[in-house]
């Protein structure tokens, strides 16, 4: 059989870009299909450089329109008048939820996907994470360990450019770092204080995919300390598909990109037990289209990759493609998160900072490592946050008028330290995705239905994290303003993952240790859907490493003619 392409990559976000780069660089002819619109690097970032006074709503956006068209996306901290075109219109892209589920699904349907809007935090997982399911019996054991992924973490970090500080921590392995960004005076003092009182707790600078050293060979400048990354970065200083993987893949001359095409299903041939290609709907013309390939990489984003698999049910696979186990769609996760504590930090009134650092600080996990010492939970939580000085917005919240008041607000105000906690989300069969059997979207595809709830372990972890955050900040001289032990809605970490989990056993998992479907040898799912547990770290770096590793394996199999 002849094929249109060697490989089809569904999706152009963080992992789709990586799959396309690695596959084309290995010599394969690749088709990348993106459901959203084209956004060109640089010229496509239309409001990147706009001053607030050049926008009708001064950056705040038209809230009446947001209420109508973006009721979910508007809840994203990075959603505003500059970035609104980098998020989906909720009204045009509906999903459904099970009774009792509140799930805020933040999405970016465009070339580059959420690589344009992501938080850029890059943390390796450790064997505390890959061993978690086996250790406490939740979920299914990961078929890989840190040693399997370490060289692929190296590979990815070198290419995307991750700035960070080596700390020698077992729970947060060091990587191939560019020079770290600096901590401000409050953070430096907090690191010292916490390190003195609790040596197992380390305050370190965020490890972020913003370049501190330019990569001129790749057309990427170093970070300009604007911290407006989600508008798009014409300097190419943060990693996105547009700034990094897409130019690399295009350079090979072997990549074809289609935009505005939503993949409806993947075709499966029960005779060869292989997938043969994909079918799509043009979102503008509603015309159907299709292409064939020797292999398919599914990188549509965790939930949408599951959607494609469920919607690709056939006579041979009535419960969904690659779903002989029946677990497809189950065990979805998203980190429970909340502001554990925010405090004013007196004593730094003579200090300020100049420039906007596009990362905060992190306190890596310190619970449930070599001994199980968490209260009511068996996994990890970590804090991300930082110290900042209040600005003019404080004037909105206090009495006062006139010139003296104006002059008082002119200078930076008090320092505040914020600690946001992210905890492990436990893999649960009841948290699952299904196809809505009643409702369809504008492309005629069934809506995705999300059933999700945090459980007692997540609540216990956040309760402990809240208490410890208050204790640490007060001990360091802070005056706590507020804090919480209640997680936000599901989805608010924007780390939704799982649904096509990896595992040893084809009877209880969808993918093998190569992110390859147990049931279908030439089908790979290398985005968040493959995750068997959540860890408490941001997951994107791990998705990228798993993608590069899966491509390497797929290419080797293809060369042996054993795909």
């Amino acid at each position: 059989m002849t094929h249109d392409f060697d490989a089809i990559v569904v999706g152009s976000g963080i992992t789709g870009g990586w799959a396309a780069k690695e596959l084309t660089e290995a010599g394969l002819k690749v088709l990348m299909i993106e459901r959203g619109r084209q956004i060109e690097h640089q010229s496509g970032y239309t409001r990147e450089m706009a001053a607030p006074w050049e926008l009708p709503f001064r950056g705040r956006g038209d809230q009446s329109n947001y209420d109508r068209a973006f009721p979910v996306q508007r809840l994203n901290r990075h959603f505003n008048e500059w970035t609104q075109d980098h998020f989906v219109n909720d009204r045009e892209n509906p999903y459904s939820t099970a009774d009792g589920t509140q799930f805020d699904w933040f999405r970016s349907y465009q070339l580059g996907g959420r690589s344009l809007t992501w938080g850029r935090q890059c943390y390796r997982w450790s064997d505390y994470d890959f061993g978690a399911n086996k250790r406490d019996g939740h979920g299914t054991d990961w078929p890989i360990r840190y040693a399997d992924l370490a060289p692929w973490y190296d590979h990815v970090e070198r290419f995307i450019g991750v700035s960070g500080a080596a700390e020698g921590l077992a729970q947060l392995p060091d990587g191939q770092f560019q020079p770290p960004m600096a901590m401000n005076a409050v953070e430096v003092a907090l690191r010292k204080h916490i390190g003195t009182h609790w040596p197992e707790r380390v305050v370190t600078i965020g490890r972020t995919a913003n370049l501190t050293e330019a990569k001129p060979d790749e057309g990427r400048a170093n970070c300009q300390y604007r911290s407006i990354c989600a508008r798009g970065c014409s300097f190419g200083a943060y990693f996105s598909t547009q700034s990094s993987t897409l130019p690399a893949a295009m350079k090979t001359g072997r990549l074809t990109v289609l935009t505005d095409k939503v993949v409806e299903r993947i075709d499966y041939d029960p005779v060869t037990r292989r997938v043969t290609g994909v079918r799509w709907v043009d979102t503008k013309t509603k015309q159907a289209g299709q292409a064939t390939a020797r292999m398919v990489f599914l990188n549509a984003g965790a939930f949408n990759s599951v959607h494609v698999l469920l919607n690709s049910a056939s006579e041979a696979m009535p419960n969904g493609l690659a779903n002989s186990s029946g677990v497809l769609g189950t065990h979805i996760m998203d980190h429970p998160n909340t502001v554990a504590a925010a405090a004013t930090m007196p004593g730094f009134e003579q200090h300020t900072m100049v420039g906007n650092r596009p990362t905060g600080v992190v306190i890596p996990r310190f619970r449930n490592m070599d001994k199980l010492d968490g209260i009511g939970h068996t996994r990890g939580f970590s804090y991300q946050g930082g110290a900042l000085q209040s600005n003019w917005t404080r004037g909105q919240r206090q009495p006062g008028l006139g010139a003296d008041n104006k002059n008082a607000i002119r200078s930076p105000g008090e320092w505040r330290m914020v600690l946001v906690v992210f905890a492990d989300s436990m893999p649960r069969a009841s948290n699952r995705l299904t196809l809505d059997r009643r409702r369809t979207d504008a492309n005629g595809l069934p809506l995705l239905n999300i059933a999700f709830a945090h459980g007692k372990e997540e609540h216990a972890a956040l309760a402990e994290a809240h208490a410890l955050a208050v204790e640490m900040l007060e001990s360091a001289g802070g005056k706590v303003l507020f804090g919480s032990d209640q997680p936000g809605h599901g989805g608010t970490a924007i780390h939704e993952m799982g649904g096509a989990r990896m595992g040893h056993d084809p009877a209880t998992s969808v993918l093998n240790k190569w992110s390859q479907a147990h049931d279908v040898r030439n089908l790979f799912v290398t985005d968040g859907a493959q995750m068997s547990s959540s860890a408490s770290q941001n997951p994107s770096l791990t998705y990228m490493a798993l993608t590069a590793r899966a491509v390497d394996h797929a290419v080797a199999l293809a060369r042996q003619n054993s795909l």
């Binding site: 400048a221 009134e349 006062g400 200078s411």
Partner: protein, 208 residues
């Protein structure tokens, strides 16, 4: 094709407007970035009172005041489009609260009534110092109200005056400093009395 931008090209010390910088960065002609929506109508008297209140809240010093910076037009637009939740229907409105047809507060009508009440007559007929005293009474009362009481509409109007001013060119780049492309990060710089904050410190504005 993409090309690399360097700090030298977009040097922070060469002042460039956002549109000009965009044009430089992209090789495009500088043009309107977005059409300005029509400013909804307020009665001339309401507009005059909003202008007075804005300028009292943030007066002219060595930099322009709020009315000088065009804040009243922004506040009228912002109220109409629901910024600061201005168009949320209210269920616990005190008797006499002027409401729009959708059940949200008519802030401009409220301000007109509140200023006249605080003035004991025609607010606009008062001398400037008396106007400031009248608004100060409203401001003090709004922040002194018990937490379980319905919030004073002044809080929304004041918040929008602040947004309008500090995101205006005068407020953002003269009263405060605006640097779109800092180019570098100084983690620990000395802060002297009177140093101006950066209106482009986006994280502080989100969280501060």
């Amino acid at each position: 094709m993409s090309r690399i931008l360097s700090a030298g090209e977009a040097n922070r010390r060469d002042f460039l407007s956002g549109a000009a910088l965009l044009a430089l960065a992209l090789g495009l002609p500088a043009g309107a970035l977005a059409a300005t929506p029509a400013i909804p109508a307020a009665s001339p008297r309401q507009h005059q009172m909003l202008a007075a209140a804005s300028q009292i809240a943030i007066p002219r010093t060595d930099t322009p005041g709020a009315a000088d910076a065009g804040v009243p037009d922004f506040v009228v637009l912002a109220l109409d489009h629901g910024l600061e939740d201005a168009r949320r229907p209210v269920t616990n409105a005190p008797k006499g609260m002027p409401l729009r047809a959708d059940g949200s507060i008519d802030h401009l009508r409220w301000l007109e009534l509140a200023l006249d009440t605080a003035a004991g007559g025609d607010f606009l007929a008062l001398a400037a110092p008396r106007q400031a005293e009248a608004l100060a009474r409203i401001d003090t009362a709004a922040f002194a109200a018990p937490r379980d009481a319905p919030p004073s509409p002044w809080l929304t109007i004041k918040a929008l005056i602040y947004i309008g001013y500090y995101t205006s060119e005068a407020g953002g780049s003269q009263e405060l400093r605006y640097e779109l492309v800092p180019g570098q990060f100084e983690p620990d710089a000395p802060l002297h009395p009177g140093d101006r904050a950066f209106s482009s410190d986006w994280t502080a504005i989100d969280f501060g």
